[in-house]
């Protein structure tokens, strides 16, 4: 299967071009800093009349972890977009594809190979980075999120969604166009989620529908809510429930995990966009 040849080549490129190395070094720095920050939580309230309780500590740690992981998911999505946006277009522009695609390899194999390489990159980076962060938080604060595996799945799913979209754009547009468009759409979907939440709070059907539509059109924010949910301790969810729907507009809160049907939709969405990318590149004149 020549697609795997392209996958290997894609991984090799990311490693040799040091994108990976830079990302890893920065991640180590960020993890070190945040871990130091987390390690200060138990000392909060020291020297005051009331030291913080275990529940408070878990609440602070979980909120902080959600913020850190939001940044992580942003970096992951950002990197995925910028790795995918030029993945095909740069090779077409430079002429690299001419020599390659005159070989007995189909465009389908080429695009799927690129996609698999990018997905593998996301997995190789995201799983260790997020796991190490969660383990360190567990060690220094004694807090571990209730659904770590689900968290990984949701945040990686989010990255794969934007990566697939960027790869589709890469079949037709220059890397810069694909990269900027990918990020703007990602940002729009995030705001779409907030708009939908505001609609819920104020019982406004139009706004709610905007939120739902944006969740379906680009399911990054929907998956992000799943990631948030995976990080929240049950006590926090219970407290927010008591507060009513007001919490719905908070992009760093989710009362419920995404429905199974929504997860299925996300998988179909990814496959559908990948299929369009293959179709688009098959029709591309080189």
């Amino acid at each position: 299967m020549l697609a795997l040849t392209i996958t290997r080549l894609q991984l090799q490129e990311l490693l040799r071009r040091r994108l990976f190395l830079v990302l890893l070094l920065l991640t180590v720095v960020v993890i070190a800093l945040t871990t130091w920050g987390f390690s200060r939580i138990p000392s909060l309230g020291e020297g005051q009349a009331r030291p913080i309780s275990d529940v408070q500590r878990a609440a602070v740690a979980s909120q902080l972890l959600i913020l850190v992981m939001f940044m992580f998911s942003f970096v992951l999505a950002f990197s995925a977009v910028f790795a995918a946006a030029p993945a095909i277009s740069a090779e077409v522009e430079s002429g690299t594809t001419l020599a390659m695609l005159a070989r007995p390899i189909t465009r389908l194999e080429y695009v799927v190979g690129k996609w698999l390489g990018l997905v593998a990159t996301v997995l190789i980076y995201a799983i260790p980075a997020a796991s190490i962060q969660m383990v360190l938080v567990q060690i220094v604060v004694g807090y571990s999120p209730p659904h770590p595996l689900e968290f990984l799945a949701f945040v990686i799913g989010e990255a794969i969604v934007v990566l697939t979209l960027s790869l589709l754009l890469s079949t037709r547009f220059a890397g810069m166009v694909g990269g900027v468009s990918g990020l703007i759409l990602w940002g729009l979907a995030w705001m779409g989620g907030i708009v939908g939440g505001v609609g819920l709070v104020f019982d406004n059907a139009t706004l709610t529908h905007v939120g739902t539509a944006s969740k379906l059109i680009l399911p990054t924010d929907g998956l992000w809510r799943g990631a948030v949910w995976s990080l929240e301790p049950a006590t926090l969810i219970a407290a927010a429930r008591a507060a009513g729907v007001a919490a719905a507009a908070n992009p760093f809160f989710a009362a419920d995990p995404p429905e199974a049907l929504y997860v299925v939709w996300c998988v179909l969405w990814i496959l559908f966009v990948l299929a369009i990318a293959v179709w688009s590149f098959t029709r591309k004149e080189l």
Partner: protein, 302 residues
């Protein structure tokens, strides 16, 4: 199909919107030919190559490469291609690029090592095989591209302007490589705007202009072999005039040019000159140069 021609096209055409890149290309290139596809920039040469390799679909017409329809995977396994825009993965070494193409071409893994070393040696990169392509000069990258096109001893090698980045030594090397391919019976499709290059290596030539083939044939057919130049001294004007029965005479001082002469009569002409008291220093059959013919076909004054 062993007997099928290397390339056969029938009214092959390509339009980009309102621009006609190639208008009705019909040609047959037999196996083992070194075929020159010659034309000015923008004549449609590269478009023709891209159509033949299935990199872009034709708007009309039909073509077969090695007896199979365009883009056929088995046929593509037996084709080597050096694009005009030659670029290879800059983060790979030359050997790795060649290995990648061995893999894409579906060559037997056991043969890779030998194929790679052979290709590096042929194109003169034997001592740079481990170097990163990104550090190579343009000329070295073009040599590498030629090596890529030669992997696996393909039946058809398509070279699109293969010497555009090379110095005179490199151009000489490429001509030798093409001749070597011809001796092995490999069909070579050579795209070029360099007349001398085509003139020196090709058996047959098609001249293409504005998307159309304006002339096609062997070099002899295209250029004609009916002119002879003779360097002669001690021959007076009257005697020279008497030679006009052999053809149209052009007196260039020491050199006499006789056009439209039947080449069989050249010895007779020389004998006549000697009999008339002339001393013959040199006899050169002269073709119309490809350049003259080219310019004439393109309707430009020489």
């Amino acid at each position: 199909m062993i007997d099928a021609p290397a390339i056969r096209t029938q009214e092959l055409a390509k339009r980009y919107g309102s621009i006609t890149a190639l208008a009705g290309l019909t040609m047959t290139i037999p196996r083992g030919d070194i075929f020159g596809f010659l034309g000015p920039n923008g004549a449609g040469k590269t478009t023709a190559v891209k159509l033949l390799l299935g990199l872009t679909p034709p708007t009309a017409g039909h073509a077969e490469v090695l007896g199979a329809a365009i883009g056929d995977r088995d046929a593509l396994r037996r084709v080597g291609y050096l694009p005009e825009l030659f670029r290879y993965q800059s983060w790979l070494s030359a050997r790795e690029v060649l290995a990648l193409h061995c893999e894409l071409a579906g060559l037997d893994r056991a043969a890779w090592q030998r194929e790679i070393e052979d290709a590096l040696a042929i194109v003169g990169l034997a001592d740079r095989g481990s170097g990163r392509v990104g550090t190579f000069s343009k000329g070295m990258q073009q040599r590498l591209g030629l090596g890529v096109a030669l992997l696996g001893a393909p039946d058809l090698v398509v070279l699109d302007e293969p010497t555009s980045a090379l110095d005179p030594v490199g151009r000489h090397d490429v001509r030798e490589i093409i001749r070597g391919l011809g001796e092995r019976g490999t069909t070579v499709f050579l795209n070029s705007h360099l007349l001398s290059e085509v003139e020196q290596v090709c058996h047959r030539v098609a001249i293409v202009d504005r998307g159309r083939v304006v002339a096609e044939g062997t070099l002899d057919e295209l250029l004609g072999g009916d002119t002879v130049r003779i360097r002669v001294t001690d021959l007076d004007r009257a005697a020279k005039t008497g030679l006009s029965r052999f053809g149209q005479l052009d007196d260039e001082g020491e050199w006499l040019v006789i056009r439209g002469i039947d080449t069989e009569r050249v010895p007779e002409l020389v004998a006549d000159i000697v009999r008339l008291g002339g001393r013959v220093h040199a006899v050169e059959p002269r073709h119309e140069s490809l350049e003259d013919r080219f310019l004439r076909l393109l309707g430009q004054p020489n």
